[in-house]
């Protein structure tokens, strides 16, 4: 339970103790703060098993503390670090223990012994839910042994998939709608963590693109579509969406994007403006769309072939960011 505090039993345990955050002792708060600090600064969380009740209770407290911030990145980092901790522990566990953890998430899984090196067979929808977010080629379903609805996996594979499941599970817990109000002493701790994280973030994050659009930094697929449209040629629906969302994300105004489409023979100003503004997040749902990821573009035949930078990124916007650096355009720091 101390190792895997997200398991229902652990939640029950915390409930039984009827602990309120106001009553938390300093050792628990210290450990919770430490969990978050480790996650944010070093991207890992250690496991301390000597004092079980502290270990168990500190997890929901830490979750509450992180949830109280509105910082999406902070939430992501924390969830990822806790999930990685689980992965490392699971790799060393017995098959039975692993099965027990998968039951928390209602996986359809069984152990197998006739197909070495595989030890588990997992129902493909459970597999896809988690593996679709892992990038390495070996995780693509097409590169796995799939038989009768089951994907064959090693123990290490299952541990890695559980990491994803746990990460999403914790992210959901952190994503609370109503504001979390903490007692002052706990709020102070959160504020301290937030400041340390902001400092750290400034170092590693270079958010924002230069004001001017740098065409020479476009990925090959976007450059191709851009040239096509500029010379009056039509794009597929996905092509149009990709180009439009790419351009609005790197700082082109909706007006400028609309003008780009003006050279098309069947250009309809009102309709184009509506669509562009919708993608740019100015209309309707107010969500700003980002372009599809590289593997999606490959599936739908938008990818025109990869260059060296493509090999190292998974998203057209990441390409732009990376290429900008190489052509020495300084991105303004936020």
């Amino acid at each position: 339970m101390a190792k895997y505090p997200f398991i229902n039993e652990a939640a029950e345990y915390v409930k039984e103790l009827d602990l309120k955050i106001e009553d938390m002792s300093d050792p628990i708060l210290n450990r919770a703060e430490h969990r978050i600090e480790e996650a944010l600064l070093y991207a890992l969380v250690s496991t301390e098993l000597r004092k079980e009740e502290i270990e168990i209770s500190s997890f929901p407290v830490a979750v509450m503390m992180v949830a109280s911030t509105a910082d999406k990145l902070m939430k992501k980092r924390y969830a990822l670090a806790e999930a990685k901790r689980i992965y490392e522990l699971l790799e060393e566990e017995s098959k039975d223990k692993i099965l027990e953890v998968t039951r928390v998430f209602n996986w359809k899984i069984r152990t197998v012994d006739d197909k070495p090196p595989y030890e588990f067979a997992l129902f493909f929808t459970n597999y896809l839910r988690n593996a679709a977010r892992i990038q390495a080629k070996g995780w693509k379903l097409v590169n796995r042994v799939v038989l009768n609805g089951e994907v064959y996996l090693t123990k290490g594979n299952v541990a890695r998939l559980l990491q994803e499941e746990v990460r999403v599970h914790i992210e959901k817990k952190l994503d609370v709608k109503e504001k979390v109000v903490l007692p002052q002493n706990v709020a102070d701790r959160v504020e301290r963590l937030r400041q340390a994280f902001t400092k750290q973030k400034g170092k590693i994050e270079l958010e924002g693109f230069p004001k001017e659009v740098v065409i020479s930094a476009f990925p090959p697929c976007v450059k191709h579509m851009y040239d096509e449209v500029a010379s009056g040629h039509h794009l597929s629906h996905i092509g149009r969406f990709t180009l439009t969302s790419f351009l609005t994300n790197i700082g082109m105004t909706a007006e400028e994007v609309v003008n780009l489409y003006r050279s098309l023979s069947d250009f309809k100003e009102r309709l184009t403006r509506y669509q562009v503004e919708h993608i740019a997040g100015g209309r309707g749902s107010r969500t700003k769309y980002i372009p599809p990821r590289c593997d999606t573009l490959r599936t739908h035949g938008v990818c025109t072939g990869m260059d060296e930078i493509c090999e190292r990124i998974r998203h057209p916007l990441a390409y732009y960011r990376r290429k900008l650096r190489t052509i020495k355009v300084k991105a303004p720091v936020e």
Partner: protein
């Protein structure tokens, strides 16, 4: 639109109306009809009436009878409120849909029966739609496609490969997997199971990549160089015919390819001259070797890189060419079973998987079985319906059985002859 065209459209609509009056009892509502969105493409102006919903099949058939659409669709998705606008429908899940259309398959007829006209410069051509106009570079065309037998046979072959993957690899039962003729140039498969309903578009994309073999690495299916004993030599080992999933498919694809490959087939995949000669000369040995174990690395003179190319090509032949967009779209509208296809006057219909190989769409999918019609055909290729062949026709008046005449009218290849 010319007066003649409008008249023809009205005429076709009347025929469709007759069909829905007489055959309304054959309309099969989708499962959980209340949670589905319906859409109707109207003859007039080709506008789509969307966001329709029905409590039961009676409401649906009533709409078909009164609206008389050229095409009728329903959503693969289930919604809490299918009748409201998209953002407010509240998505509950969706069936898993596959669309195999001749448009996405290279066929031996080379689509010579299809014609296209560039929307910009007006230049016309026959066959597969070019990527851009050879004269002006435009990407948009008016195309006229034709459901030829070769096209439909190719679509059938792809469908058979798809069914095999859905059953063997994904383990879907016959009950969950329904096969349909689309009414035009292909087949649809609907997988209805609680397990697949919640899959998001990303998970569905992985299924698409699996079916088409996108991102497939032969290396990850055991085609690897293994060090042999103490010696420095590395030997190539790989999957065998009876392996499950893609491993077996790579082996079987390679086997089939090498059993029939000609010199030019081997040239096309980029093998060197020497390698090709060796493979042709020793074809027997290679084919025989599968019975014992596997041929990988067996023959002197065929290097590992060449084997990899062969295996990759063999795998490609095993993939099923589905429309990628249809399967990944979790809000897709799909044609309703037993309704008419506006481009042919044939009906979309369920096809039993057993016996699919001998299914004849030009016989079974005929909706109009009685009477004849007099029409003026501008230009039509030779074609067959049931056991009768017709055409080719060029600027002539003919009297044809209703189904044959409607096919040409729907395709815009003919006009009605007023019989007054």
């Amino acid at each position: 639109m010319s007066v003649k065209k409008i008249e023809t459209q009205k005429f076709v609509k009347n025929k469709f109306s007759e069909y829905y009056q007489e055959h309304s009892s054959s309309i099969q509502p989708p499962t959980l009809i209340k949670k589905r969105e319906f859409g109707f493409l109207m003859f007039k102006g080709k506008v789509m009436v969307r966001h329709q919903s029905f409590k039961d099949v009676d409401g649906l058939t009533k709409s078909l009878k009164t609206l008389v659409p050229s095409d009728a669709y329903y959503s693969s998705a289930y919604y809490e409120r299918p009748e409201v606008k998209m953002e407010e429908k509240s998505w509950l899940g969706a069936d898993l849909i596959f669309d195999i259309d001749a448009d996405h398959i290279p066929t031996s007829c080379a689509k010579i029966h299809d014609t296209w006209v560039c929307s910009n410069c007006g230049i016309a051509g026959k066959g597969v739609l070019p990527e851009k106009c050879p004269a002006c570079g435009e990407h948009r065309f008016d195309e006229k496609t034709w459901p030829c037998e070769v096209c439909l046979e190719s679509a059938k072959n792809e469908t058979i490969k798809l069914i095999d993957m859905l059953k063997q690899d994904f383990g879907f039962s016959s009950k969950e997997t329904n096969l349909y003729f689309s009414g035009h140039r292909g087949y649809h498969i609907h997988v209805e199971s609680e397990e697949v309903q919640p899959l998001d578009s990303m998970a569905r994309k992985e299924i698409v990549d699996y079916i088409i073999g996108i991102g497939l690495e032969t290396r990850l299916h055991g085609l690897i160089e293994e060090k042999l004993g103490e010696r420095k030599a590395h030997i190539l080992t790989g999957p065998s015919l009876e392996d499950p999933g893609w491993s077996g498919r790579i082996a079987r694809g390679t086997y089939e390819f090498l059993s029939t490959a000609t010199t030019s087939d081997l040239e096309e995949i980029g093998l060197k001259k020497k390698v090709i000669e060796t493979l042709i000369q020793r074809k027997e040995t290679v084919v025989e070797s599968w019975k014992e174990k596997v041929p990988w690395g067996l023959i002197k003179g065929v290097d590992h890189a060449s084997w990899r190319k062969i295996a990759q090509h063999g795998a490609e032949m095993q993939s099923a060419k589905i429309d990628t967009v249809v399967t990944t779209d979790t809000h897709r509208l799909i044609r309703l079973n037993n309704t008419l296809h506006g481009k042919t006057g044939l009906k979309k219909m369920e096809v039993p998987v057993t016996g699919f190989e001998s299914f004849d769409p030009f016989k079974s999918a005929i909706a109009f079985k009685e009477g004849t019609l007099k029409i003026i055909v501008q230009d039509a290729p030779k074609f067959r319906l049931e056991d009768q062949t017709y055409g080719p026709y060029k600027n002539q008046q003919v009297e044809l059985p209703t189904a044959a005449a409607l096919l040409l009218l729907c395709k815009g290849m003919a006009k009605v002859k007023e019989d007054k």
